[in-house]
């Protein structure tokens, strides 16, 4: 396996760019929604075979072990080439969690399956009555012989209909004094009897998420991650990763590319009022990159992410939404047209960034919840 970090940034960028541009299937480039597993399976396996599927994981576990600078280049080139978002919970969430909180047996069993594309993961966190107030979750896991038996329901579970596995937060101690105590973190095979799904259409009309029902679902005790009743700590550790991931500039970058293309095509660069707003957003995005690299550097140094990482999510998603809104405005009357439209010789899907940027301020703890967290734990303001 090559040492990618030994390459110069320029050489690494060239190599990644050439591969993404030439190898990612044309028909899925710039897809205005997440890719389904049947659409991205070949690509996933191709990346896996090349050793490129987990750029953020250490090399000992099959990742590329990229430095922050290289990781950013990798993500930038993903965006530039229009590589679609795959069901990536195993790569972004489960892998890093097992590496940090799991045991050797769990790592040995699950990590290679993620790399090989044999295990596709989804996240069992939110419940119908536990959204922003996640710690009030009621799905329950009760020990029985060698298993835990899970009952309850999870909702807004992205790509659950493509997943082979789900990681679940469930209550294991109802008598705990604080609601954050007495929650545990489980790994569950989606083929286990008792799991049923209901798909939910999102605002753009795509079947992107599901409600998952657990009716006496048995998962072996060795699928408990970390200590019993300490799942909240792991979830919080994961939320750190998740906020870092959500806070990456790569999704807003894609909207910026569309906006710049549209602005050129419509001659808007001659309008000083538009250019001022565009430049403000370009700087907001460039400066997001600076803030993002600060946190990526921390992660790479092995430091835990504190509650302050929430600010990255707030700024990133706020910037993404403002970008998507200027895109619609820049399109004029076309800003009302669904799907791709030809404007000045360019095909642009004006509305997809608008739809795609909506959930970012809601999931993973809404931006308002992030501000509460920052006020309490970073600014130490009274409650």
């Amino acid at each position: 396996m090559s040492d990618w970090n030994a390459l110069s940034d320029e050489d690494f960028r060239k190599e990644v760019r050439a591969f993404f541009e030439n190898e990612f299937p044309e028909e899925y480039k710039f897809l205005p929604r997440r890719m389904r597993w049947h659409e991205c399976r070949d690509w996933y396996l191709k990346l896996s075979k090349k050793g490129w599927i987990a750029p953020n994981w250490p090399r000992e576990h099959g990742g590329m072990g990229l430095t922050p600078a290289k990781l950013l280049i990798y993500y930038e080139e993903t965006e530039r080439a229009g590589v679609g978002r795959m069901p990536d919970q195993g790569l972004t969430m489960v892998g890093p969690t097992l590496i940090r909180f799991g045991n050797d047996a769990q790592r040995a069993y699950f990590l290679p399956k993620i790399i090989a594309g044999e295990a596709i993961w989804c996240q069992g966190y939110s419940e119908p009555n536990a959204g922003s107030d996640l710690a009030s979750l009621r799905t329950e896991a009760v020990p029985d012989g060698d298993d835990y038996v899970i009952n309850g329901s999870k909702i807004w579970t992205s790509m659950a209909h493509d997943a082979t596995h789900i990681y679940v937060l469930a209550r294991t101690d109802k008598a705990a004094k604080k609601k954050q105590e007495g929650i545990s973190f489980f790994l569950v095979d989606m083929k286990t009897p008792g799991i049923t799904l209901r798909t939910i259409r999102n605002i753009a009309g795509h079947e992107e998420f599901c409600q998952v029902f657990f009716d006496n679902v048995r998962t072996p005790k060795h699928n408990l991650v970390g200590e019993l009743h300490k799942g909240w700590t792991i979830a919080k550790g994961l939320l750190g990763f998740e906020r870092l991931n959500i806070g990456s500039p790569r999704r807003p970058l894609q909207a910026m590319e569309k906006l710049e293309t549209l602005a050129q095509a419509r001659g808007l660069m001659a309008d000083p009022a538009f250019v001022e707003r565009l430049t403000q957003l370009q700087l907001d995005l460039a400066d997001l990159g600076s803030l993002y690299r600060r946190y990526v550097d921390k992660v790479r140094r092995g430091e835990a992410l504190g509650p302050d990482v929430s600010m990255l999510k707030v700024w990133s998603m706020d910037t993404y939404q403002r970008l998507s809104e200027l895109l619609i405005e820049a399109a004029g009357e076309y800003g009302a047209v669904e799907g791709e439209v030809a404007i000045g010789g360019e095909n642009v899907d004006v509305l997809s960034p608008f739809y795609n940027s909506r959930p970012g301020t809601i999931y993973g703890g809404s931006n308002e919840i992030q501000r509460n967290i920052l006020a309490k734990y970073v600014l130490n303001l009274p409650s």
Binding site: E257, E276, A286, S290, R293, V314, E368, R371
Partner: protein
């Protein structure tokens, strides 16, 4: 390295830390508005003794020969303390320009004196507002045997109140020249234009000032390169000073929100204020992250286009964040924030003057757009 095994950078960070810990002399800053001098010779000597004035001056001229990273540490500390002395104008803008000038006895003398605190050169490069780079140049230097005769007007000269002379930009035969003009040169007069924070801009009137040939510091492309680099570096260090201003002001707001009680609770417990304070904190951290990256980028010696883009990114973010934070500080403090006695007003005014100098946020956004709109992606 000194005898304790610490390098200059570490020593510097330590001395800035001590300085900041010692706190700001805010009564003095407040008294500037009542006519107290913006320049204190004893304070300036102290800055020289600490080595801060010579951070960027080459070691061969008695300076520390360090980079913008260290100059930014100093400037942020001085910003926190609202120190009115013209650190950035002299130790960055003038020092960098002189450093870029051709070797001459005058250059060495000015740089050594600048680092020691015995000479106080400032740059007089600007004539029109919103003209970063000083391209709208009307001042002329008419050559004659033995020197030049310089005529023109200069504005926005920070540090003029205490300067002992000026590095003046002028045109001779269509070429940019940088010339040294002592403050007391015949035909050179300096008027003060008071600023919101009690400091002043100098306005220079130059009428047939006779400048000997030895006072020519740089000419043509070399002069342009020295000036452009110095301006980008000074704008970046001003951004660092703004970081110091905004951080202290936001601390004051947060402290006040924790202690001020209304409706039976500290006002900091109200979600409307919490979210506002958080959004400003995000601006502060963005400014800090951008500044640190830009300083490192500039210290690596990029090409002029990349340098200019980076400097504009830092100045625009830091200026806008400092203005937002200090203005909100007035609001968070309520009616008391609107009084002369309240310290947050001093921070708001300093944020205003530092934002306006060397191009405000809007000007640097426009410059960033001109330089590199398509390349903005690469920076993210």
């Amino acid at each position: 390295m000194n005898e304790h095994g610490m390098d200059h950078g570490a020593l510097l960070a330590q001395s800035v830390g001590d300085f900041v810990q010692h706190g700001a002399d805010l009564p003095r800053v407040r008294a500037l508005a009542q006519g107290r001098a913006e320049f204190d010779a004893a304070q300036w000597r102290q800055l020289a003794e600490l080595g801060w004035l010579g951070v960027l001056v080459p070691e061969s001229c008695g300076g520390l020969g360090l980079g913008l990273a260290e100059a930014a540490i100093v400037a942020e500390g001085l910003g926190r303390a609202l120190t009115p002395e013209p650190y950035t104008a002299v130790a960055v803008l003038a020092a960098r320009t002189l450093e870029g000038a051709a070797a001459s006895p005058l250059r060495e003398e000015l740089l050594a004196g600048l680092a020691a605190g015995s000479r106080l050169p400032v740059l007089a490069w600007q004539e029109q507002p919103d003209d970063f780079g000083g391209l709208q140049l009307a001042t002329t230097a008419m050559p004659f045997e033995g020197g030049f005769r310089v005529s023109g007007e200069k504005s926005f000269v920070v540090g003029a109140a205490a300067a002992d002379g000026y590095v003046v930009s002028a045109l001779a035969g269509g070429e940019l020249q940088l010339l040294w003009i002592p403050r007391d040169a015949g035909g050179c007069s300096t008027a003060a234009q008071p600023l919101a924070d009690g400091r002043s801009y100098g306005r220079l009137a130059l009428r047939d000032v006779v400048v000997p040939r030895e006072h020519l510091l740089a000419s043509g492309a070399a002069a342009r390169a020295a000036l452009d680099r110095a301006l980008d570096h000074a704008a970046t260090v001003t951004a660092a000073e703004l970081c110091g201003v905004m951080k202290r002001a936001h601390e004051m707001s947060l402290d006040y929100m924790k202690t001020r009680v209304q409706f039976g609770k500290p006002i900091g417990s109200f979600q409307a204020l919490q979210h506002r304070a958080v959004d400003l904190h995000i601006q502060q951290e963005l400014a800090d992250a951008v500044l640190r990256e830009v300083v490192a980028e500039l210290d690596a010696g990029p090409d002029p286009a990349a340098r200019a883009r980076a400097a504009s990114r830092a100045k625009s973010r830091c200026a806008e964040a400092a203005l937002a934070i200090t203005r909100a500080a007035i609001q968070f403090h309520g009616a008391i924030g609107f009084t002369e006695d309240c310290d947050v007003g001093l921070y708001a005014k300093r944020a205003m003057t530092l934002s306006a100098w060397l191009g405000n946020g809007r000007a640097h956004r426009a410059r960033y757009a001109r330089l590199s709109a398509p390349a903005a992606r690469e920076a993210a």
